[in-house]
Symmetry: D2
Subunit: 296 residues, 4 copies
């Protein structure tokens, strides 16, 4: 099978390599010529631009977009759209908002598959988890490619119609925030608590047989191994937050309570600046109780 | 009526003055001789120590303790206990834990009234809110004194048996934490949000007729007037927390969910140091996504 | 001064009456003819429709809209817009989203004041709290009317440019949710806790001098008086939620953590149906621990 | 090596079998004679009581207690204590509170190892995760047994001095509550949300390569397979809560904020009865806004 890949960043290169490894052919393009060279060295045919990718694919035109969510997806589709036909398949493997994917699916003549991709750089070896929305026939047709990019046949699933893949991925990320914070609270209590513990050893012991074992806990173990039980100079500052924000927004829309996901997101916001609310509480305690006001 | 007052800090002096103002007699003692002098200048008779307070009171021996919660209460009771008789009345007006009050009530021969006191320094003029537990007859007998110390007959109530006064006060304080944090969140959003607002003016407008008007909101208005809409150099550091901790502990025991009170308490803890949980989240994002780790 | 009032529901009638009581003239209209009759009986001149209101106002055309937020506001503006002139003033006293108010302010030729109104039915006697956004000159010109509708000069404020009035009102409501839930947690703990308490008496004692006294606490006192300490047949079901949802949405946008407001909103959602998350937890406890699954 | 096992419930039997499978000898006792028979059939020597277990062990007396946390542990120790010697080793493999373990370690003459055990019934095949506190020499000496009961050498660890094993297990369980609730929130949103999803398929896709893959997520997958995407008749009622309560209590003591763990615990409490706080909010909305009160 032939696959066009547009967008050759870290994730795009993994897609290229895993598809090639599975014995398929790849036509690759990126605005960055170094990235194109890397793909070529891996065995991909290279193209001059999005439309050239299409042109080089022959009759079965399947294109995987692995460009940053947002404008880059629309810009690429702007170029591709006039050339797309009904039997073509376009996969968006990025972190697009599900509503953008629904809109794009309606806009292009090709079958449009929104594909939530999870697993990070570790996916290079293990393969990813792929949550896919869009027309069932296109999902079926692409199965050999998904088998290659995912951890195998179990690592991808057809979630439902357009947008459902990115919808499930959005919720995945919301849960991810909460899991990270949950582990964080546990380790914070162990760190601040009564015993002087080796947190790498704790994480290792848990990862072997305990109810809370998980891949994120393996990453905790790795973090303590590399940074020490006190996390060294790692700062109290958590970046990111867009997919978590989307999850909470959708939960508000659906009137579904997600207090843990919300709180995990709020912790990220809180890590980025002083809390005005707490400064006011500090001051109010003087107001009603003449407690001394801490000042900077 | 005659009242002994032991403990002449800020709150104790207010008790002395309000009781004198109401036409009663006061016998006052404190370990600090300056505080005793202040009480004398206000018109109180002074005593040499706790037992001397009792001795000077004649037949109707009613003593109000306004000493710091904890050991100071027990130390004072240690002195008083051998001299107390069944018809004596001891009031603990401090922030004692309700279980300590139950224990003390059992220990002394006198009627023991645990009296939660709220209102802060502002109570000097307005009077306090008094939540009182213990024997009903003792509460009745003390009514003239409670009328004087409280805002009036409406400002005190007999909650129930021993411990119930401090129990209600404990819950009052838990609610207080949550109210402060709730206003804080609102003002934080207004401060960080889309408009450049005069927060004193917002608070004033709200205090005049809005659903959320309250005394704490009047203190917010005062804080913005005195510190500015940006709260000047007021630090992101909230001290205190014992009564809020007791409230959450009791709610755990009773299996009653109190997420807002808990969160308000947790904000105080969080204001006092870096969050290890967030430092771990920062590091984990590298683990699964190769996001750059912010370091100090 | 003359004021047109369009929308004569409970809140609109209060506006009519308070403005008449202050010695001004009112031209009133509502789609419901009974409501128009009520306003006429109170002393208002009546009109046939929105444009007729304008026509009857002479040179100084000031119109207060008190219609349901959303389509009703736009429908009324659709009728008024072609007739509005630069020096006219339109007030939207309803619970509109601030972004809708910004859009409407741009759309009409008149000065557009977005006016957050708080106080509920109790405002009939006391007057409301009015948070007002829009052109300063229009706010100044309307001051006599705002003095009448609000609790007085202290009860209204010019928050800033278009949208800021409804913005501040939105945040007010978010805080309101959290305050209600905070009191609710406290009373829940008292109700479920160790003592058999008269919650009306607790609320009354608190309302007289305690730090947490407030108008909402007076409403709690009233609720316990009317329903009993166990709240009788009042259901565990909280309706409403739109302004709280807006507050959380804006806080997400501004990346401001509002965990208490969020949690109070989530409690409303949670009161309306079974929690799937808890049903899953119930089942998972069997998965890892063979704990019996509770079934319906 | 020889091991005495006292307490032959589900978990105790697994200990017996895994230790026998590893080639060691077991002397087993339980108050329930059927359980003793089961252990005998598996190849264990049986004893008449706790002291008889000791007597049958010869010189190297190592006893594993797998009885319910609380009084049963103390009752067993009451019997054993007079017969224990300095070089004996007692392991408490149950869910004891760490402070009880510290107290017991001081009380007995033997080396006392507090051993947090995680993994549930699945541990029968895979082995458990064992978090162990107490004297290092005793931990070393017991290593062959721990290798057998745990998933292997990686599945157990010496956390630190007396109590540290149960301390780490306590925090493990707190994290477990939060993880379960985090997954629950995600699946609740997917269930209530915009798409009609097969949640078993979602869980399977996630378990193969996604960042949030874990053993608990495998249990979610199993639950959806067995109960359906709507969880059938599984009730909104979550039992249990003691170790989570301990975790929050310790976090209060240490002033460490654990909002996710707290919230997960609070959800359990909330699942068990109506929320008074929400009933009050329902009623208050009438108070300030004349919103209709939902009644039962």
């Amino acid at each position: 099978m032939q696959l066009g890949v547009i967008g050759l960043g870290r994730m795009g290169q993994i897609v290229v390599e895993r598809v090639l490894d599975a014995g398929h052919d790849v036509v690759a393009f990126d605005l960055n010529s170094e990235a194109v060279t890397t793909a070529a060295e891996a065995g991909a045919e290279t193209a001059e631009g999005p439309v050239d990718v299409l042109d080089r694919l022959g009759d079965e035109r399947r294109v995987w977009l692995m460009v940053p969510a947002g404008e880059a997806v629309d810009a690429t589709l702007d170029e591709l759209a006039p050339h797309l036909r009904e039997r073509d398949v376009v996969v968006d493997g990025g972190n697009s908002h599900f509503e953008a994917s629904v809109r794009r699916a309606e806009r292009v003549d090709a079958a449009y598959l929104d594909c939530g991709t999870s697993g990070g750089p570790a996916g290079a070896e293990l393969g990813f988890s792929l949550m896919i929305g869009g027309p069932a026939w296109a999902y079926e047709e692409m199965t050999p490619v998904f088998d290659a990019v995912a951890t195998g046949p179990e690592g991808h699933g057809h979630m439902g119609p357009a947008g459902s893949g990115h919808y499930v991925k959005m919720v995945h990320n919301g849960v991810e925030y909460a899991l990270m914070q949950a582990y964080g609270e546990g380790f914070e209590l162990l760190f601040e608590g009564r015993y002087d513990l080796d947190l790498e050893s704790v994480a290792r012991t848990w990862n072997n047989g305990a109810v809370i074992r998980s891949w994120l806990l393996e990453l905790c173990e790795e973090a303590f191994r590399e940074e020490g039980s006190d996390l060294g100079d790692v700062a109290d500052h958590v970046a990111g937050g867009s997919t978590g924000t989307w999850t909470v927004q959708e939960a508000l829309e659906q009137e579904v309570p997600v207090p843990l996901i919300y709180q995990a997101l709020a912790e990220r916001f809180a890590s980025r600046e002083e809390r005005f609310s707490r400064r006011l509480a500090n001051r109010l305690r003087y107001g009603f109780g003449r407690h001394e006001v801490a000042r900077e």
